[in-house]
């Protein structure tokens, strides 16, 4: 029976009572409670069901290491699964529900898994894969899907806000216990910029709970004084409720600040992800108590000894009236003393050591509490609640000597330093056999950019378990790190801590020492993943010798536990099974974050519109207002078509095509990349970048050009205009502007840095509007200002001047096969020019058109599209573009590669047109052509594939382009394309130029 005590509780405010909801029931707690302490205060000891076996589980710990007491928190858009009761601060109307239990935590249907635990041994999932396929698909997978998993995923988008915070400091100190405070004091007084993080709401760590004294007074006094001094230093920033989450290369670290979890109605972001760069990092993260491994060690009521006294002292919450303490060290006795001091019963202390003669055991004996040495817990008894423990000799196999009724069993298996942050970035550990713990090895730290260690560990995290050494270590490490960060440390600090001296621990890895298989199957090493002693021993028997393999096979220490509670106990059992020493078995890899952080904090502000900013052309808003059906094109949004209210998308596309071919179409082509290449060596440079000869291009003329990678593959295409003898304007694809500009810069900066060439990406400086169709010239003549006649502005020429009063450059280029002008105007005049065209064009039947119309018209003309006809394995020669590859140039990017035998192979798949034999059919995009033969590996032999395919409203039948083996030599032949629904579409190989093959229409 757990309950609230009438007095005490250093962290709760009894004047401020709060109501909260637990599984639909209203309960009462106090400000300062955690959800865990408030639940215990209301006698809620059964919190949830376990992951695999759905065993009843209660609260085990009092900090982030809690493996069991995970709940669903909040509702609707604020719902979050797997929140730890131990790290959740209580607030008014908090709403929490049990997990992994249906219909209720007290009566859980899936509890039958416990009975089946024999069929869920280590490696169960892997073993199910070995069954026949049907068994996995129809038997195991559906069952596992329903039964497994931790919590339930939220169903609505997260309603909260999150943000990033950046900090650059001399010293980042993680952990606000006395070691962290001492180090901060040292560095702060020296003038270093210090950021001190504490994951809880409170400073001082365990020292006040464990009764340490500093300078002869209670530790809390020193903590208060130190905090006040640090708070007054402008160079020191203190952040509570902020966890040091991860340590990364070169002094980079992340912090996780929980701003409003404890006050959900407060304004501002919920979480902050601190992105910190520090010269030195001190990890003063403390230690975590280990459970003991005995049968039934997961029954609600079995708790860590330190947690029991945390609840007593910090929250005035009794975890049970009648306590049994099981321990292998002196520190556990502090819990017996605390229980007794609170007026509660300590039925017995079970100490596995042969003798317990330290000061703390003697104090306990003096209170009349029976201390049994050399004894072990044979088993904890009970189901949903602990009822009793049976006692046996530690040395034996578990013959029961005595049964002791109790409702709480406090266990202490010793302490493990929290070495996660030290290890994240490669810091190594060594095994301290005396203290039975892995400690940071200061000779093998994580190394920074300058080759020196940049992380230090102080206090309990460094293996110091008594207050005196913890404080001294805090000062020492603080001094060392201060000097390394480039500051003078100043006079030494003389503060001294004292605590009751302790006798050494005796490592106990299972209780009793000779426990048999039955007990092993009820002894949990990893509560969160339901891994038992029997699982690790089975893994060892099945040949898993590496700790990393055993971890994956058994799931020991996986997920959010990250080895906090399970690691050392599991390693020790594995070492014992393998007849090896613990340090030889080693630890698994500690990975960041130390404790789960919210996905929201990782995303920060990068969600919705801010996830990736959209590039908008100067005409964007007009398009949005006029039926533009947007599709993403690289970072841009372009209209697929302009849909009218009475038509479908495909009807809109057809209308736009027919109108453009008959009257005038208007296309916003502003997204095309525009790069200026200028300088005395510009021609020479252009000749290297393009496969064509660009240096001979006459001023005032345009030329279609191709760019290849050094591997010979086609990378981008576009029209180049020569503005003057030193200056070229290169058009790139819409998606290619940044990439091609970077490509040019890379060559200029890293290969031909002595060439006098300058490049500028001016894509956003211009709006580019294509006026397309047989009546295009009429419109421009009506707008006036420039002679756009065929004589003055012939095909593939351009002119600078003014059109309709707006400064313009008109290019005579065509991607549709029609008479076409692309008019570039300053971006700021783009909308005005567009409006002018729309208005003046009305009498000629002008309509705007979108990208799908553009695509169909270019396919009707057999023009390739980068990304459709190319995929990074296609060379220009495959596409019938040999005419655009200079034979005169000594070199260009890709030239050497295209001379390789495979590139010259006559059997390469090459571009052809494809016309379905049946006019009503359209070949699916990406379809493969087959020749009816079967390859050695049993698949159909493929001889080509479709790269672009459309219905052509101009021609009234389906058209396609594709790459076909020996295609150009097979004109008129018919080939077959199987479709996904099992049909076959037959098509005739033809010229890819379906429309106006002579090019008469564009050249008028």
């Amino acid at each position: 029976m757990s309950t609230r005590l009438p007095q005490g509780g250093r962290l709760i405010d009894r004047k401020s009572a709060l109501e909260f909801n637990w599984n639909g029931t209203r309960l009462m707690g106090y400000a300062g409670d955690t959800l865990a302490s408030a639940l215990l205060a209301n006698n809620q000891t059964l919190i949830g069901r376990s992951f695999k076996y759905h065993r009843p589980r209660g609260i085990l710990a009092s900090g982030p290491e809690e493996p069991n007491a995970l709940v669903g928190l909040g509702q609707g858009a604020s719902f979050e699964p797997n929140q730890r009761t131990t790290t959740t601060e209580l607030f008014t109307d908090l709403s929490a529900t049990s997990q992994n239990a249906w219909p209720s935590v007290h009566f859980d249907i899936m509890g039958f898994n416990r009975i089946l635990s024999r069929v869920f041994p280590a490696g169960f999932y892997y073993k199910t894969f070995l069954f026949p396929r049907f068994a996995w698909k129809h038997l195991f997978e559906p069952v596992i899907r329903r039964a497994a998993g931790l919590g339930a995923a939220p169903k609505t988008p997260d309603a909260d806000r999150y943000e990033y915070f950046y900090a650059t400091v001399d010293m980042l100190i993680i952990g606000g216990g006395i070691a962290g405070l001492a180090a901060a004091l040292r560095a702060g007084r020296a003038g270093a910029r210090v950021l001190l993080l504490e994951q809880t709401a409170h400073w001082g760590g365990r020292a006040p709970v464990d009764g340490a004294e500093i300078n002869g007074a209670a530790a809390q006094d020193w903590i208060n004084t130190t905090l006040a001094e640090l708070d007054g230093m402008p160079n020191v920033t203190l952040k509570n409720r902020t966890m040091g989450a991860g340590v990364y290369d070169h002094g980079w670290a992340t912090g996780y600040e929980r701003l409003t979890d404890h006050a959900p109605k407060a304004a501002g972001p919920r979480h902050r992800l601190w992105r910190i760069r520090a010269k030195r990092i001190i990890s003063a993260t403390g230690a975590v108590e280990r459970p003991l491994s005995f049968a039934g060690n997961d029954i609600p009521g079995v708790m860590l000894a330190s947690a029991v006294r945390d609840y007593l002292i910090n929250y005035a919450t009794s975890c049970g009236d009648r306590l049994v303490l099981a321990t292998n060290n002196d520190d556990g006795y502090r819990t017996a003393l605390a229980q007794h001091a609170a007026g509660l019963t300590v039925a017995a202390v079970i100490d596995a050591r042969a003798s317990a003669a330290g000061d703390l055991p003697q104090q306990v004996r003096a209170l009349g509490i029976p201390v049994h040495t050399g004894r072990a817990i044979a088993a904890a008894k009970g189901n949903k609640y602990l009822k009793a423990v049976t006692i046996c000799a530690q040395a034996g196999e578990g013959a029961v000597l005595e049964t002791i009724p109790c409702d709480v069993l406090a266990m202490s298996g010793g302490w493990s330093p929290i070495v996660h942050l030290w290890s994240h970035c490669g810091g190594k550990l060594h095994w301290d056999a005396t203290q039975a713990m892995f400690r940071p090895d200061p000779m093998r730290p994580p190394l920074g950019a300058d080759g020196t260690g940049f992380v230090h560990v102080a206090g309990s995290a460094n293996g110091h378990l008594d207050a005196a050494s913890v404080l001294k270590d805090g000062f020492d490490i603080g001094t060392l790190a201060t000097k390394e960060a480039g500051f003078k440390a100043g006079p030494a600090l003389k503060d001294m801590a004292t605590s009751t001296p302790e006798h050494p621990i005796e490592p106990i890895w299972q209780m009793p020492q000779g426990m048999g298989p039955k007990k092993q199957m009820k002894t949990f090493l990893d509560y969160q993943n339901d891994v038992k002693v029997s699982d690790v021993r089975l893994a060892a028997r099945e040949g898993y010798e590496s700790v990393e393999h055993t971890k994956r096979y058994t799931t020991l220490g996986m997920a959010t536990d990250q080895g906090k509670l399970s690691n050392i106990n599991g390693l020790a059992i594995l070492a014992d099974s393998l007849n090896a020493e613990i340090p030889d078995v080693g630890t698994t890899t500690f990975r960041p974050p130390y404790h789960p952080i919210s996905m929201g904090s990782i995303a920060g502000d990068a969600r919705g519109e801010l996830f990736k900013p959209v590039r908008q052309s100067p005409i964007h808003n007009w398009i949005a207002d006029n039926g533009g059906f947007f599709e993403p094109v690289a970072d841009w949004r372009r209209p697929y078509c302009y849909q009218r209210t009475d038509e479908s998308v495909s009807e809109a596309v057809t209308r736009e095509i027919l109108n453009t071919r008959k009257n005038i179409g208007l296309l916003d082509a502003s997204t095309l990349g525009k790069i200026i290449v200028k300088g005395p060596d510009a021609g020479r440079f252009m000749d290297m970048m393009y496969t064509n000869m660009m240096s001979t291009l006459k001023v005032g003329k345009c030329r279609y050009g191709l760019m290849c990678t050094e591997n010979g593959f086609l990378s981008d295409d576009g029209v180049v205009a020569r503005l003057d003898s030193d200056t070229f304007l290169c058009h790139t694809t819409s998606g290619g502007s940044d990439r091609i500009h970077a490509w040019m810069e890379e060559w200029l900066q890293t290969e031909w840095w002595d060439w006098q060439v300058y490049t500028a990406n001016v894509t956003e400086q211009y709006a580019q509007i294509a006026v397309v169709g047989p009546k295009a010239r009429h419109l421009l003549e009506k707008l006036g200002g420039m002679d756009v006649s065929g004589e003055n502005l012939p095909f593939m020429g351009f002119l600078d001047g003014e059109i309709g009063g707006i400064k313009a450059r008109a290019f005579r280029i065509s991607f549709s096969g029609e008479l076409s002008y692309e008019i570039a105007v300053p971006a700021s005049d783009g909308q005005a020019f567009w409006d002018m065209c729309i208005e003046a064009g009305a009498e000629f039947g002008l309509q705007p058109y979108g990208t799908e119309c553009l695509h169909v018209m270019r396919a009707e003309k057999g023009f390739i599209m980068i990304g459709d006809e190319t995929d990074g394995t296609v060379i220009p020669q495959d596409l019938g573009l040999s005419w655009a590859i200079s034979k005169k140039k000594e070199d260009f990017l890709g030239k050497r590669a295209q001379l390789r035998p495979h590139m010259q192979d006559p059997d390469r798949w090459r571009l052809v047109g494809l016309r379905p034999v049946n006019d009503g059919e359209i070949i699916p995009d990406g379809a493969y052509a087959v020749d009816g033969t079967i390859r050695e590996n049993g698949v159909k032999n493929m001889i080509g594939r479709v790269t672009s395919t459309y219905y052509s409203p101009t021609l009234g039948h389906g058209i396609a382009m594709g790459l076909v083996q020996n295609g150009p030599e097979r004109m008129g032949e018919q080939i077959d394309f199987p479709t996904l629904d099992g049909k076959m579409i037959r098509a005739t190989i033809c010229d890819p130029v379906f429309y106006d093959p002579e090019g008469a229409l564009q050249n008028v």
Binding site: Y248, D249, H250, G251, W252, R277, L447, G448, A449, D450, G451, E710, N711, A742, E745, E746, Q749, T750, E751, W753, E890, D891, F892, L893, K895, R896, A897, L899
Partner: protein
């Protein structure tokens, strides 16, 4: 997250502001190159455990390419320098030799 000094603008830069460009000091073999030279240029890259010279671009900054000398195992940065050079600067070579006596030296 690596922290490199951009020699062009002098700033210490986070890795997320940079673009990695692979091995530095590669000789381009273009038209007319032998098969072996071309293969070497296009495909063969060093993958040393230790001292390595590599290219980076300060892409979310000044936009300039630079070179860095770095240890691939400890991530120690020996120095960064201009990309407009055919070999690493001599003082840098001397510095690395001092720090890593077992290093066989710069080879193109």
């Amino acid at each position: 997250m690596l922290h490199l000094t951009c020699p062009n603008c002098g700033q210490m830069v986070d890795e997320t502001d940079l673009h990695a460009g692979g091995q530095a000091h590669i000789t381009r073999h273009g038209a007319g190159a032998s098969d072996a030279d071309f293969e070497d240029y296009l495909f063969m890259r060093k993958n040393p455990k230790g001292v390595h010279f590599e290219r980076w671009r300060h892409v979310y900054g000044c936009g300039k390419w630079f070179h860095a000398a770095r240890c691939t195992t400890t991530l120690q940065v020996f120095g960064t320098y201009s990309a407009q050079t055919l070999t690493p600067p001599k003082p840098l070579i001397t510095k690395i030799k001092k720090l890593r006596p077992e290093w066989e030296g710069f080879e193109k």
